[in-house]
């Protein structure tokens, strides 16, 4: 005992008298030198200049409502570019429900949900959505983009693992970035690749079982992918979920109100029990033709977002007139379930009609209402591809079909999709209009690309 104490005392004496040794040699600058450095420093300009002809700078100006017949840049066209799948944007019943709400509540809610911003329409909308999707609870957000971008960081934190599809949309990417978790990308719709990643994770877990017991895992996929127009293989994902104990977050912005017999989305399309999906998130800006988004699932999961969803707690709630419009749109969806079949038939029709255009290939499932037309062969650089597609779009616009290119932030996307023209099918388009669009695109491709 004496020996150890003696060694300890000697060690303390050594530490007291040893030279303190800084890792960084911080030579103290004189005041004059500091002032010189401050004088000399030149920052970059706040923003770099943007060339006047940048394709994303000059917006199309739509005068009047962006409905089936749309006036773009002064020219009247048939709208093949707005995500108004069920044609509810111009629906009189929806508008009158919104008017009634405007007369009762005014426009804004003047506060977040926690501070007198919860209106009875919000509660009603949440109940109706939960009932429609056959889940326990739903929560609504005032902005579509913020829905999935706030939901993911509420559950997945630093140290957790998220397996996400390469073609996931930008909102999902931002949600993942905000969560600070480990992101593992798997090839688009490639279950073998996903299984490989899951197996790798399993071997990692066996090396460190203590850490594995507290690391949450999630798979984030979309029902109908915005960037590629195809659907995810949900039954296989469910099998992987139970095999490797991973939770599934499903983003259904495009498939809600489109897939399934009653428009309940991809779970109805595949006939899967909705409780097998941990969280379904969708925005109300496509089929429901309103603004905002919602998440639905079991109360155990959804209730957590009421205190941890940043876009829910720290932001003003959805204006009541938009919530009332969404409720009425939901009523229409429930009352006339045959519109989904009509929409699907129109999608199949145009998908077939667009096959065989020289120079352009159709990307997307035959029943997807949001397709992409990509160049079969790229002309070398993305800039030139974009310019070429612009000429095709302009040709169509001049002849009465409104189209748009799919816009991306090229430097920010993780896996940038190739440039494409977005073709959106709605129930309001007649068969003649669909055929006209297809033949016009053939003509445009012929004249521009050959």
């Amino acid at each position: 005992a004496c020996k150890t104490e003696g060694i300890l005392i000697l060690w303390i004496i050594r530490l007291l008298f040893s030279k303190t040794y800084k890792l960084q040699e911080r030579s103290d600058l004189t005041l004059k030198e500091k002032e010189e450095l401050i004088e000399e420093w030149q920052p970059e300009p706040l923003v770099p200049p943007v060339p006047k002809d940048h394709p994303a700078l000059n917006y199309n100006i739509v005068s009047g409502p962006p409905t089936h017949i749309i006036t773009v840049n002064g020219k009247e066209c048939i709208n093949f570019a707005s995500f108004n799948f069920l044609g509810l944007l111009n629906n009189e019943k929806v508008k009158s429900a919104a008017q009634a709400s405007l007369k009762k509540y005014g426009v804004g809610t003047c506060g977040p949900r926690g501070f007198y911003g919860t209106f009875d329409v919000h509660l009603e909308l949440e109940e109706r959505l939960a009932k429609f999707m056959r889940t326990e609870e739903a929560i609504i957000y005032s902005y579509g983009f913020a829905t999935i971008a706030s939901a993911i960081p509420a559950y997945s934190k630093r140290g957790d693992i998220v397996f996400v599809d390469e073609a996931a949309c930008f909102a999902i990417q931002k949600g993942l970035q905000a969560s600070r978790s480990n992101i593992k990308l798997f090839k688009h719709n490639d279950m073998a690749d996903l299984e490989r990643l899951l197996k790798e994770q399993e071997t990692e877990d066996q090396k460190n079982p203590r850490k594995a017991r507290v690391t949450r895992r999630f798979i984030v996929v979309e029902g109908l992918y915005m960037n590629t127009g195809d659907i995810c293989p949900l039954p296989e994902l469910i099998k992987l979920k139970y095999k490797y104990k991973v939770r599934i977050f499903l983003e259904e912005s495009l498939s809600f109100g489109v897939l399934g017999e009653h428009g309940r989305g991809i779970t109805e399309h595949f006939g899967i029990n909705i409780d097998d999906i941990d969280l379904i998130s969708a925005n109300m800006e496509n089929s429901l033709a309103s603004i905002g988004g919602f998440c639905c699932g079991r109360s155990f999961i959804i209730d957590h977002q009421r205190l941890s969803g940043q876009g829910y707690c720290f932001s003003a709630s959805l204006p009541p007139l938009l919530a009332a419009a969404a409720i009425e749109a939901l009523n229409i969806m429930e009352d006339s379930p045959d519109i989904f079949q009509t929409l699907r038939a129109k999608c199949e029709r145009i998908h077939k009609a667009l096959q065989g255009i020289s120079g352009l290939k159709v990307v997307g499932e035959s029943f997807s209402p949001a397709l992409h037309l990509q160049l079969e062969e790229s002309c070398g650089s993305r800039e030139n591809d974009v310019k070429l597609l612009k000429r095709v779009v302009d040709y169509c616009m001049n002849s009465g079909i409104a189209l748009t290119q799919a816009r991306y932030l090229e430097k920010e996307e993780k896996c940038l999709p190739p440039p494409s023209i977005r073709v959106v099918i709605t129930v309001e388009q007649t068969e003649q209009e669909l055929d006209k669009a297809a033949s016009l695109l053939k003509e445009a491709a012929q004249s521009v690309l050959n």
Partner: protein, 543 residues
């Protein structure tokens, strides 16, 4: 101005927002306080660079009394003990567990929530949960109707009795200029646009969602603010979280105020830039950070920073303080950095014509590089905007995340903003806008003075329409909210984690729609019912 005397305040009076003024006192440990020789009770902490200010700047954050701080900690300690006891009882099934639980099939998955994360939620928040998320069923104006709800299991579940409590004086909604109305020019214009355009847009700004209404709105907002150009977005929160990453990136430095809003913090984090925090509204702290940043460069590599962006807010909604804008602009010019001003609460609420904190201080809007604000508070709508030079806005039109991926604003909401901005500017041919701005300023001064006279501790600047009243103890949070509701006054109470743990407060948001009678009713209820347990200040006693 009356003849002013200087008095050195002793260290015990210094709050954490004081800073030493060496030039006058020569003593770094003391603050210089200003006393008006005619009315002795006002103690204000003067500004270091007084010459930059064209108007008096009166802000006070009284120190938490020692006894109160101790009792608050004791209160939290007792609650924590009871929390552990309750958890123990729940675990051993003595008490029924009301929590929602995981599915049977997924019981062997990694637990989604850690038990401790939810401790505060289960045991403290749940007990006073009825103070928040109160559902209303009328327009959120000066008076509001609330749906009555009761709980038979201590706030775990609520049931609606079906009764509606009518005409509650609303001191919780952000309705500064009273534009939350269901009748009037704004509502009529919005109704017209709704019937013409519909409610939604179904596309993004860069694709097919750019309506003529959006262009009209942006030109109007630019004119209102006095800047070259502006751009509007659908959500105020998203305006910050999606545009800050577009402006700065890796290799840049962000200097952010301690008490910035969650959206600014999220935007700063998503950008990937280095973030450094300076003390709340403390210009010494900011200057030190700026000097160090430029002199020493980036950590480890010592490369010079690409740009420095200072993030501040106009009015801080939890403190009621106004940013020291003249000093911030002087610093920004001296150190060649850029200023991002978030005027969520100050646009429409400050300044003789409602143009925000820049007009309040009599400064040039061109000095602020990025002027951001929201339409939710003073304009009775939803959404946010950014104003600045044309190059900045052109850049944001091209590279903002919101322009490329998020649906554009709903047309009736846009029309509400257009009509309310025109009203504030006086372009609708009436005087309503000007009158409201003046009414708000009067209401603010009157209410603050009354509360101070009654002896409550009020934080913040004299001119800020956000009035935080200190409660400190956790039990008082619930009691205050419930007592006020019993007397038909709706207030907002906030506790941890929105505020530091011992500084829970009630927050009043004044509105131009509040009449003097409503403010008097509020004041008298405070005086009679709540004064007993909220009167903390000792200032009156000293005199």
């Amino acid at each position: 101005m009356t003849d002013l005397k200087y008095r050195l305040a002793p260290a015990s009076e210094m709050s954490r927002y004081c800073f030493p003024n060496n030039a006058v006192s020569g003593d770094a440990s003391r603050c210089v306080c200003l006393i008006d020789s005619s009315t002795v009770e006002e103690i204000n902490h003067i500004v270091h660079n007084g010459g930059l200010y064209k108007r008096p700047f009166n802000e006070a954050f009284e120190e938490t009394p020692m006894l109160v701080a101790v009792l608050t900690y004791v209160g939290y300690g007792v609650l924590t003990l009871f929390g552990y006891l309750r958890d123990f009882m729940r675990q051993w099934k003595i008490e029924k567990c009301q929590n929602a639980t995981e599915r049977e099939e997924q019981k062997d998955f990694v637990p989604l929530y850690q038990d401790f994360e939810n401790f505060y939620n289960r045991n403290l928040y749940m007990r006073i949960r009825d103070s928040w998320n109160r559902p209303i069923c009328s327009v959120p104006g000066a008076k509001v109707d609330m749906m009555e709800r009761v709980s038979h299991d201590y706030n775990w579940t609520f049931t609606y009795t079906g009764r509606v409590i009518k005409d509650i004086i609303n001191m919780g909604s952000y309705n500064y200029l009273g534009f939350a109305q269901k009748t009037g020019a704004c509502q009529e214009a919005a109704a017209k646009v709704l019937s013409q355009y519909g409610a939604g847009v179904c596309s993004t700004r860069q694709e097919m969602g750019n309506l003529d209404k959006h262009e009209e709105l942006e030109k109007l907002v630019a004119r209102f603010l006095g800047v070259e150009s502006a751009m509007a977005y659908g959500m105020g929160f998203a305006t910050n979280s999606m545009n800050i990453p577009a402006l700065v990136g890796k290799g840049c430095l962000i200097l952010s105020d301690e008490l910035n809003h969650a959206s600014l913090v999220l935007g700063a984090r998503l950008s990937g830039a280095t973030i450094r925090i300076f003390k709340h509204n403390n210009m010494q702290s900011l200057e030190k950070l700026l000097k160090d940043a430029i002199v020493h460069g980036q950590p480890r590599t010592r490369r010079p920073w690409k740009k420095i962006l200072i993030l501040v807010e106009g009015i801080y909604s939890m403190e009621g303080s106004i940013v020291r804008l003249p000093e911030v602009i002087a610093l920004k010019k001296k150190y060649k950095s850029y200023l991002y001003l978030d005027e969520a609460h100050s646009i429409g609420a400050l300044g003789p014509s409602g143009r925000g904190v820049v007009e309040y201080f009599g400064l040039n809007p061109e000095d602020v590089d990025v002027m951001m604000g929201t339409f939710t508070k003073s304009f009775g709508a939803a959404g946010g905007y950014i104003g600045g030079k044309k190059e900045l806005i052109d850049y944001l039109r091209t590279y903002s995340h919101s322009a490329a991926y998020a649906t554009s604003m709903s047309p009736p909401v846009v029309e509400q903003i257009i009509t309310s901005v025109k009203c504030i500017m006086g372009e609708d041919g009436t005087n309503i806008g000007r009158a409201r701005v003046q009414q708000l300023a009067e209401n603010t001064r009157y209410f603050r003075r009354r509360l101070k006279e009654m002896g409550f501790i009020i934080y913040g600047n004299e001119d800020s329409p956000v009035v935080p009243l200190m409660l400190y103890m956790p039990a008082k949070i619930g009691a205050f909210g419930r007592e006020m509701l019993k007397r038909n006054i709706g207030v907002v109470v906030v506790g941890f984690p929105a505020t530091p743990i011992i500084e829970s407060r009630a927050r009043f948001c004044l509105s131009a729609a509040h009449t003097k009678e409503m403010l008097d009713t509020g004041g008298s209820v405070l005086a009679t019912r709540t004064k007993q347990f909220c009167k903390y200040t000792w200032e009156q006693e000293e005199v």
